[in-house]
């Protein structure tokens, strides 16, 4: 089906079902229960899951296949966001032109940076990309303020031209981003007893694009081009000796992953029309590296899982404050309650980085293949018969 073998198609199908049912899967707890704290099924976070999933899928095409570790991918995400917001300011609030422009601009930008950075490999390549990204961040933060609006971030205003749309709606506010009239922020809450589920228009656009990106990534992984990229990773020198010029392939992979990042940036701006310079900072570039490694570099589904994992921590764990902790432990005697709160306090709220860091360490030490490897190990427990078979399909063997 769709040019995929049976196994890949069923993987795509699973991802599609998960993506379409996400509003239900992510809200497993009744809205009025104490566990509702852990519900992640609200539009903004679901959108982020899908968008950062796209970002990580694209990054994985470069890092997972060619082994080139780029530390500057956030720059393409940022460039994509800025192009999209400019499109909203100048042309119209429809997201299609904005997303198209962001992909194109990010593609061109990555062509330029890739052309220069790919003259080196290994750590030198990483440092070059890091330098370019940090340069873009600093430019966006100060020198290019007329284009980027600096620290404040590029925002829509009431007097933007928007030549194909309206500058302001009839009631005097800024129009909202839409897809041929479907507003991106539109969402409907379905109530079943105590459970409530948010069905959001913006999320479904992200989810469909994420599926599309996922599909393209599978095709690339399985294509002769993908094989070429794997060859670069396993032994670049040997490639050169056999008379093949590897650089165009690597550059193509770099540009493709840059365009994925641009798509993610354009989508971020479409869901929430603001582009800030922090999106380009090196920490943002590092985040996508973490996502890919946490999920499993070189696997198809891994980066999406990693992206979801990190965004979940950032948005859910960071909001657990002492008040919430006290309500959890309130059934205990006072002294023990306070002790428990003191013990748990450093790991939640502002300490979410700490928890994430510990989990990251555990994953890297015990599951070098990322969350995907964890899944495989569990699957193998239940399916002892053909252990090698499952391994072959989803995990490519790391070269180094």
């Amino acid at each position: 089906m769709l040019g995929l073998n049976k196994r890949d198609f069923s993987l795509l199908l699973i991802v599609a079902v998960l993506a379409l049912c996400a509003p239900f899967i992510l809200n497993p707890f009744p809205a009025d229960s104490a566990m509702a704290q852990f519900n992640a099924g609200y539009p903004d976070l679901m959108q982020r899951f899908a968008i950062y999933g796209i970002f990580a899928i694209g990054f994985n095409i470069l890092f997972g296949l060619t082994g080139y570790l780029s530390f500057g991918h956030a720059a393409f995400l940022g460039v994509g966001s800025y192009s999209a917001v400019w499109m909203f300011k100048l042309l119209s609030m429809n997201v299609i032109p904005a997303i198209l422009l962001s992909v194109v601009v990010a593609g061109l930008f990555s062509l330029l940076i890739g052309f220069i950075s790919l003259r080196r490999s290994g750590i030198y390549f990483s440092i070059l990309t890091l330098a370019f990204a940090q340069m873009s961040f600093n430019l966006a933060y100060s020198v290019l303020t007329p284009i980027t609006n600096g620290e404040t971030g590029l925002q829509l205003t009431l007097d933007d031209p928007r030549i194909l749309g309206v500058s302001r709606t009839e009631d005097g506010s800024i129009p909202v981003t839409n897809l041929f009239g479907i507003e991106m922020r539109e969402f409907t809450t379905l109530n079943f007893g105590n459970w409530s589920f948010d069905i959001s228009a913006g999320y479904y656009l992200c989810a469909v694009l994420m599926l599309l990106s996922f599909y393209i990534a599978i095709r690339i992984f399985r294509s002769p081009f993908g094989m070429m990229l794997r060859a670069i990773k396993s032994n670049n020198t040997r490639m050169t000796y056999t008379g093949l010029n590897a650089r165009p392939y690597a550059l193509a992979a770099f540009v493709i992953s840059g365009m994925y990042a641009g798509l993610a940036g354009g989508l971020l701006a479409s869901m929430d029309p603001l582009a800030g310079a922090e999106r380009m900072q090196w920490t943002a570039s590092g985040e996508v590296v973490l996502m890919t490694i946490l999920g499993g570099a070189g696997t198809l589904i891994g980066p999406v899982l990693g992206a979801g994992f990190i965004k979940y921590f950032e948005n859910i764990f960071s909001k657990i404050n002492d008040g919430v902790l006290h309500s959890w432990f309130s059934f205990m005697p006072d002294g023990i309650e306070n002790l428990m709160v003191t013990l748990v306090h450093p790991f939640v709220g502002k300490g979410w980085h700490l928890t994430l860091g510990l989990l990251f360490m555990l994953v890297v030490i015990f599951l070098p293949g990322g969350l995907v490897e964890g899944g495989q190990r569990i699957a193998r427990l239940f399916r002892r018969k053909k252990p090698d078979d499952a391994k072959k399909s989803t995990q490519s063997t790391p070269a180094e």
């Binding site: 769709l2 379409l20 609200y42 933060y141 404040t152 005097g172 897809l179 809450t189 069905i199």
Partner: protein
């Protein structure tokens, strides 16, 4: 080499699936019954406190959060009531807001616009927050204010000093109690004139981002109107930690006043560098060399230690003020946490009470009704004397304090002394002042 499987049937199938995916959400879009976003229906109402808990302004953020918790306690009738007893409006009864118990959620802005907006969005979408407040950086405040305008909830800005927040980026759903860069300039200028005379040459070091620029613009304008000359203005990167290379040229520039448009850790480092270079012991043009820090806070003064002694700046509020309201606030804050509140804590506490009061007076949580109740609202008893929430730009107008680093501090909190209280009239400007022009409030948005 590659085998294409693109068939007509395959293409139709794929596009049908994609089309169905795009069309799916429209099936569900029924209009909701609520009159405005997150209308509180149960016995409680949720406020969203969005402050930096990590990053360069984490200290301020932690103090803001303490103030919010104190304000919630007072609104729900706990504690000693703090400034609710001195507040000129007596609408608040200590029974929550309009009988609904106040609950709150917190989030981490990380001093990044993106993270701040994500955090605010989750408060609005997941926790049904009816009002968002916080922010320790103007960039974040402007970004979150824009978000609240779109989502249809009220934004009560915390610590944000840039002119833009109520200038070119002002929004109908956003309100600021804190003072701004223009007011700093207007309040400082007369004091600087009486101290240092009207024949001075100033050299500016400015943090290279929006807030730094608006402050530099404001200070340059007000000092030049005194007759001062601006020798040079140099932008420094926000991430800089060593300012030696920026201080050295000051010595040879012929300037006799150094203005540091820096905040937080930046100011601590640049001031320390300047003092280490011996600038304060210098004689230039036959006058003592002076340093001015237009925006001061106690937390910064503590960071810079000895170096702040005798250095002038402006601040929104200081805990050593002797009016009843300030004393009541310092007392209840001190009893709960064991130390006096910072100016950031003060403005956040006041904003929370002002919001609760406006809801009660309006008799509704509807953001448009609340905005109407706040616009043009005059009040007293909140530690700043008589204050006006101006309707044209949602900026509070009140007295501004000019402070000086104390020569002989008696405790680690007693670092600043108030030199002068500049009356509100002197720092008031027209809503269409050039430094604030270009923005528009737009229409209030109740969402839903």
């Amino acid at each position: 080499m590659s085998k294409s499987n693109l068939t007509r049937r395959g293409l139709i199938k794929t596009s049908a699936i994609a089309g169905a995916g795009v069309a799916l959400p429209t099936i569900f879009t029924a209009s909701s019954a609520a009159a405005f976003t997150n209308e509180p229906t149960g016995g409680s109402v949720t406020l969203g406190f969005n402050v930096p808990q990590t990053g360069p302004y984490a200290d301020e953020g932690a103090d803001e959060l303490r103030a919010y918790e104190l304000a919630v306690e007072h609104l729900n009738g706990g504690g000693d009531g703090g400034m609710m007893n001195t507040f000129s409006s007596k609408a608040l009864q200590g029974n929550g807001i309009m009988g609904k118990k106040v609950e709150y959620v917190t989030g981490d802005t990380q001093t990044k616009s993106d993270a701040a907006r994500a955090s605010a969005k989750s408060m609005i979408e997941k926790d049904s927050a009816i009002m968002i407040t916080g922010g320790s950086s103007s960039g974040v405040a402007v970004a979150v204010q824009g978000l609240c305008q779109e989502a249809g909830v009220i934004f009560m800005a915390g610590l944000t000093h840039s002119n833009d927040t109520t200038g070119k980026d002002k929004k109908a759903n956003g309100f600021r109690h804190f003072f701004n860069a223009y007011m700093s300039g207007a309040a400082l200028a007369p004091v600087l004139q009486s101290l240092y005379g009207s024949d001075r040459k100033a050299y500016h070091l400015t943090a290279d981002y929006t807030w730094g620029w608006t402050q530099e613009e404001s200070i340059v304008a007000s000092t030049e109107s005194l007759g001062w000359e601006t020798v040079n203005t140099v932008k420094t990167p926000l991430a800089a930690t060593d300012f030696s290379s920026y201080i050295a040229p000051v010595l040879n520039s012929g300037a006799d006043v150094l203005v540091l448009n820096h905040y937080g850790g930046n100011m601590v480092n640049s001031l320390t560098n300047a003092v280490q270079f011996g600038l304060r012991d210098k004689q230039v043009n036959g006058k003592n060399f002076e340093i001015v820090v237009p925006l001061y806070s106690r937390l910064m003064a503590r960071g810079a230690g000895e170096n702040v002694k005798g250095i002038h700046g402006s601040t929104n509020w200081h805990w050593s003020l002797q009016d009843d309201a300030s004393k009541a606030f310092v007392k209840s804050f001190g009893e709960k946490y064991g130390f006096p509140p910072s100016q950031a804590a003060h403005t956040c506490y006041v904003q929370t009470l002002l919001y609760a009061d406006a809801v009660t007076r309006a008799g509704s949580f509807n953001p448009c009704a609340v905005a109407e109740a706040l616009e043009g609202f005059e009040f007293d008893g909140m530690g700043n004397g008589k204050t006006l929430y101006r309707a044209e730009d949602h900026q509070c107008f009140k007295d501004v304090l000019v402070v000086r680093g104390k020569e002989n501090p008696t405790s680690e909190f007693d670092l600043l002394e108030v030199v002068e209280v500049t009356p509100a009239a002197q720092v008031t400007y027209e809503p269409d002042h050039p430094m604030f022009a270009g923005g528009e409030l737009g229409a209030c948005n109740p969402g839903a």
